[in-house]
Point group: none
Chain length 220, copies 4
């Protein structure tokens, strides 16, 4: 996706005459249209129009609708995953204000989680998981799963540092993410309504509060 917005099809986003990024333009357009219409109802015509190329060009590059879907999903997932991992990478183990740092990380994770691309990705993955089972590994395995693992590492080091009391860091990481994201599914109407920044921060605060109450080692 690389920042393509998911709104109405803008004829402006046409691929230039450059050759090498026609592929990129098609992938972008494909994700936009798939996100808007769903896999089944998205037409290759619409994707070619959105990309500003002819249909056979698209077939030359990707071979067919299914392969195009897979690649578009993978490309978008890669970007989304990278952003989330970058957030977790910033979580140090020698922090002073643990609560504040977790809130900061949580807030930035939620921003990733509630972006239009992230919602579109999850919706498409949910929708097509039975027709494209291998997408799970590409999209979720390298996404939320990897996020949990990375976060678990950080939590484990905080435990070693005596700041958290954990038996299962992966489980704790999953729970941290669940506390952040779970309450927002309903409140954002599965990503079709945007919530205020205040509500986002309140959700983060509540999640961090519960997590700290449950796992933090009391400081005297």
């Amino acid at each position: 996706m690389s920042g393509a917005n998911l709104s109405a099809p803008s004829a402006a986003r046409r691929a230039g005459r450059g050759r090498i990024d026609k592929r990129h333009a098609i992938l972008d357009a494909a994700f936009v249209v798939f996100a808007r219409e769903g896999y089944g109802k998205a037409s290759v015509d619409a994707i070619a129009d959105e990309a500003g190329v002819a249909k056979p060009t698209l077939y030359n590059h990707f071979g067919g609708k299914e392969a195009l879907f897979r690649e578009a999903m993978a490309a978008t997932a890669e970007l989304a995953t990278a952003k989330s991992l970058a957030v977790v990478a910033g979580l140090a183990s020698d922090v002073e204000d643990l609560s504040g740092v977790l809130a900061d990380v949580g807030y930035r994770l939620l921003l990733c989680h509630t972006s239009d691309e992230a919602w579109a990705l999850r919706r498409l993955l949910y929708a097509e998981i039975s027709r494209f089972p291998e997408l799970f590994d590409k999209v979720w395995g390298h996404g939320p799963n990897q996020l949990s693992e990375a976060l678990a590492d950080r939590l484990a080091r905080l435990a070693l540092a005596g700041r958290l009391r954990l038996t299962d860091p992966v489980r704790a990481a999953e729970q941290f993410v669940a506390l952040l994201t779970g309450p927002l599914e309903g409140r954002t109407v599965l990503g079709t309504r945007t919530v205020s920044d205040d509500e986002l921060r309140a959700t983060v605060a509540a999640a961090v509060g519960t997590f700290i109450s449950a796992f933090a080692v009391a400081v005297e």
Copy 2:
């Protein structure tokens, strides 16, 4: 759905010659096929075959594919919601073993959450939320939302009874559900793999453990 399994289309499940339950048979078949194929790729032909009726019968009853989808989703959601609410209704406020009771409720909620119908419902809702925005209220609003409210009531009474320390019961209820269900999304591969009962119980234990640690009033 009334217990229709979601596996391969069994020609055996044909509607009898009775008139009054043709409608029911069509709704059942529709949900089965929609769950298997998704809205876009599900064909009215396949639904009619699965239901054992002719296509025009289906159009006489529901008017079209969209209306049929809406009604099939609503009917299935109603059943799923009822089951979840029945579980929460069984959570008393004068319990002895709070932890054990929460674990019991949590386990039964997870059974609801991880049934084939529930996963199919959520997948279809995620997939088609932008084409059928009004489904959210029917499926989620009367489902998970109502569940949170009912659970919040019970938690509030436990707080009144001095067993929990809560400021926002709805938030706590959302978090309880999130702790239960969040970690299972990845582990069940969005409902396409079944997890062992042991893993289910371990997830419940971890969720209840965290919840109790965060919210329970210590007994001396």
Copy 3:
């Protein structure tokens, strides 16, 4: 038709509970719908609705769509023909003001010719003449043809009375009708626009003028 107007389907025109005129109600409704939609696009459902009866009733009475069309056309044609013939019957052979009398007859013939029913009848006949060739005899043979013959009789008597100079009365009758109706086809846009009474009278005057110039015996 019996005076049923051809405008939008009025749910008000429902058949009473009387049994004998259900047949009549169906014929009326059928002509209204056929006139509005054409034979091919008219649906038996719409006819049954317009008539206020159930579809099988209609089949019991008429056997099918084709037979219903035939009977509805014949019934309407019979009425239309009767009106035209009544006009011609009033043309005496011992008239004083020949020009004025022909104008009067011509005007009343044009009123018949430009009624909604008459236009609808001709349009349907034109449209379906190849699928229902036998309709020609019922509708035209007993209509315009009979009219020409009747008119020819009257013209022949006027010739005998020394008022007209004719060699072929049928031909002259046909020409009289042609002079009246021909110029109106274009001006009424084949019956879809109503022309002013002034234009109607002007057309009659021109037709009669030409006819008199061509056929009248000069009086000294």
Copy 4:
């Protein structure tokens, strides 16, 4: 149309592999099928078969059945109009034998009027005027109307030349056409029976006779 006969569907008239005249082949086939079946009963399948192309090709070119009908009618009408106008264009104003010239023009106009295409055009126009009101201008406005105007011009010049006594040339032109065509509607059973050339010439003779009697300036 260009002389396509309207008889049974001949599989022989297939479009070659050339690209540019597929459009033409489709228009031809469409008119043939519409003429045979009427708009409502004509199936796009049948048209595609008759044209020797696949259905989507037809949709690519014309967008749908309605547009195809409009274009097929317009194309055929254009040809028919051109032929009629060419006949009128040959009517000089300095003729010697006025009666003979009018008979010649009249005869050739009747040949145009009674061709299979012309009858089919009129039948379809009558049949579908309410569903396609804009066709009137394309088919009639540029056809018979234009013919009347052109003929009126010629008659006016004959009046100027002292050969005819006219007050309203357009009206006279309409009447000339009406005298020619009116009596033939019944005799050809709306174009479904062919009349002998003798009957045609007799009709012309009668029409010209009446017209001359009514409008010609007597030569001494």
